[in-house]
Amino acid sequence: MSSTRLRAGLWLALALAVGAACAALLARGVRLQTDLLALLPATERDPVAERAIERLAQAAGGRAVFLVGAREAAAAADAGRRFAAELRAAGAFRDVRAELPPVDLRQLAAFYLPHRFNLLTEEDRRALADGRADLDGRLQRKLLSPFRFGPTYPVAEDPFGLGDDWLAGLPLGALKLEPAHGLLIARGEGLAWALVSAEPAGSSFDTDTQRRVLRATERAERTLREREPAAQLLRSGAVFYAEAARAGAESDMHFIGMGSLAGMLALLYLVFRSLRPLALGLLTVAFGMAAAFAATVAVHGQIHLVTLVFGASLIGEAVDYAVQYFAAHLGAGPGWDAQAGLRRIAPGLALALATSALGYGALLLAPFPALSQIALFALVGLGAAWLSVFLLLPALLARPNERDPDRAVALPRRLLLWWQSHVPLRACFAAGAVLLLVAVPGWLLLRSDDDVRLLIARPPGLLAQEARIRALTGMEFGSQFVLVEGATPDTVLASEEALAGRLAPLLADRRVASYQAVSAFVPSAQRQQENRALWRQGVFRDAAALRARLAAAGLRDDLADRQREAFEAAANDRLTVGDWLASPLSAPFRYLWLGAQEQGYASVLLPQGVRDARALEEAVRGVPGVSWVDKPASVSRLFRSYREWGAGWLAGAFCLVYLILGARYGARLGAVVLAPTLLAVALALGAFGYSHTPATLFTIMGLMLVLGVGVNYAIFLREGGVRTAATLAGVLLSAGTTLLSFGLLAFSSMPALSGFGLTLLVGVAIAVLLAPMVLSYGGLPQA
């Protein structure tokens, strides 16, 4: 068996193995990850903070939230009830809630009643401490106030209303919802809105769940409108965002994949006028993609939809190696020797693979799960496609070509020959210098953008609905909070209380609307002791005075002594977080308490209506055990630091590539080969500046690939030389397919991918246009 056939056999064995692996993985069920949040890196050094972020995201985003709006509360409630029934019947949701269990406010008073002598509001603490509590006035007001409904204690339990103040000060009502007609009703925009919330029966990121949820919602909405044409519906929830993101990425993948494939086949046929290169090109690409898929799933245990979108755009690059071989075949004419042809292009292909690997290798080091997955996919895919050229193609492309290579590329060839004979290297450098001068003002215009929305773009329609729901209900879907850690539950509470003092000025001038914290429901042990001391000092120290005071107001005589007895009986009382957690009253706020961690305990203080996040961060700084967590800001900071780091790495990569090129071509020619790519990067940045397209981390990542891919054309051109028209055909084909794929990527619905694609499109296009510079350097190798 000849070595050619032996290698083809090896390829076949590999292909079968890869195919079997793919089949096995698919049979087992590959988890297609569609959660865009999974793309975000872990930003917090503190793992407790990361867990808190996850927990809050679940508390806020796990449920789908609907508001059903109508002119009247009763109509809204009816419509809301019917809408909920409709959702329930569809079976897409595990739990649909519309009707409320009546919140028993007496239950609230009953929970705090035994502990009331340990509890005081901040205002009452100050008043008691300063002796300006005006107990007589308080008693009168408690007796005469016309509006003494709400969560209050009876006069006999709390004659001075100090306990009422505590109950009224509980941050229960951050929500603007009120119970009416058996549902929670919000009022705003001239309508009444009934709240319906539903938990999807399955993960919000599961495709089937998404489809069922969407179908059920649409049907319920149709029924709603049939019965009440004026009714309005607002929706929000992770499942809707996830569905939109998945649908967008899927259509991207189909569009880019089909576009790349069709374009590649058309170009191949246009140049080679034969179906054989088409079939072989497809075979190498398919092998590359299958290997990349199997490797990615094997390493990561799943594959992200975004990786597939990017993978679709890789088709144009993966076919390049085969194209070079087809070009050599085309150029050799009747004297074709499959192995000799391969040997001739091998150094060029190896160089091309090395530079691409360098570009993608940089992505592999990036801390983004998404980018490192993309990099792995690309490296394996390109490597496998490259390997196919060496193993498979010589066996299947043994017969010489019959088509005249010159006819395929007559026009561009004439152009390049003209370039070669009329454009001296000095002119090239002069032109390069001029281009650089033109680019410089563009650099100065260049702005950067590190917003997290680059990675997670949300459909404006859904965002607008979420904003309205937020405004109507006061619900927060925020990802900014204060993490409080301490050795014991009590130190956590004490730290929260220390924080409260710092937050007071921010609340006063409305830079922060309010906040929720466990310490607002359960004061620290020390605070409880202080409160009790204040009660004693301000209310119970003088028994006779207390008796006289209550008698003067006309209260029954035994009341004063009963108060004193109750106070003394509660001497050893202490309200604990455990008590609070055990009560159903804490249910809406339990996610604030993170509980026992590896070291100590932790809780979340959740600010609401934040207008000035910077001031909040500033206020929180320096309190021991307390840290400010702002996921979007952390991600943006990370984007920024890696954008800057990436710029440095880009410069380093240029040096590395220059070293590789220098090793083969020598210092001077190496520089000439690299020059078009260097200019491409410089001009692309200038173009972005002029067009006010901000530079992002993904621009830098794109430029990394411009380096890896763009230098290939100069290499191929240099290796083949213009006289071998077929080489030129190969280079043009490579550039065409690559530009097509990345050009399509620029249309992706994800800003990160489209920025990536745009960078590659602009950069690679410039690199291709300037690649003929290498022809101006004397001493071409003879073809």
């Binding site: 002119r71 406010l105 009120e178």
Partner: protein
């Protein structure tokens, strides 16, 4: 915000009235008539006497003062005896102004269950039958000249505090009797009710409506 809310109240009231007028039964019709009759006053000023019977008190607790009901803004409750204190029941907040002139405010929405109560109280003082029907089973006795409404809470939320309410009057609301769930009873009588077209500047200030130079 305020304008939106008013539009809402007006909208709800109009829709309720429309529904009531179209109804077959005579009672809703009479109810709507009473609502329209009392609601025709933009501002009502009256003197009140309140008597409260509470289990913890040796004797009933009486207080007296002035009431200002402004259909657009809410209720001012100015106690003059036995102490001076002013309570403001606005659309979305309640406020208390003590004898020292210090104003303590709180949004109704901050306290669960208080927002509907605020609306109910305002509706009681203004005999806003449309809103009352939203929250109570309403039984009407008498006619438009001398009527009495017997109200039983529809919602458990309200029933936690309020066993029942009786409101009576003619052109104006003349008496309100509230029975709390705990057994305490509050009786309010109004005298010298007068209608006016607009609140005074001082009243506007108490409602927190006008913007004198001293307000931040």
């Amino acid at each position: 915000m305020r304008r939106l809310s008013l539009a809402r109240i007006a909208g709800v009231a109009a829709a309720c009235c429309a529904a009531a007028c179209g109804a077959r039964a005579a009672e809703p019709d009479a109810l709507a008539q009473i609502g329209a009759q009392v609601g025709s006053h933009a501002v009502v000023r009256a003197e009140f006497t309140q008597s409260r019977q509470m289990a913890v008190m040796k004797r009933p607790l009486t207080s007296s003062g002035r009431l200002v009901y402004a259909r657009r803004l809410g209720v001012l409750w100015l106690i003059e005896q036995p102490l001076r204190a002013t309570y403001v029941l606005g659309e979305d907040r309640i406020a208390e102004v003590g004898a020292d002139g210090v104003r303590r405010e709180r949004a109704l929405r901050e306290v669960p269950g208080l927002a509907p109560l605020g609306r109910v109280l305002r509706a009681l003082f203004g005999a806003d039958t449309a809103v009352l029907k939203e929250h109570f089973e309403v039984t009407l006795r008498g006619d438009a000249a001398a009527w009495e409404l017997d109200l039983r809470p529809r919602e458990a939320q309200l029933a936690q505090f309020l066993a029942g309410v009786q409101v009576s009057g003619g052109r104006f609301v003349e008496a309100i009797r509230m029975s709390e769930a705990g057994g305490d009873v509050t009786q309010i009588r109004f005298r010298n009710s007068r209608s006016a077209s607009a609140p005074s500047d001082e009243e506007l200030r108490l409602f927190g409506e006008a913007a004198p130079a001293t307000r931040p």
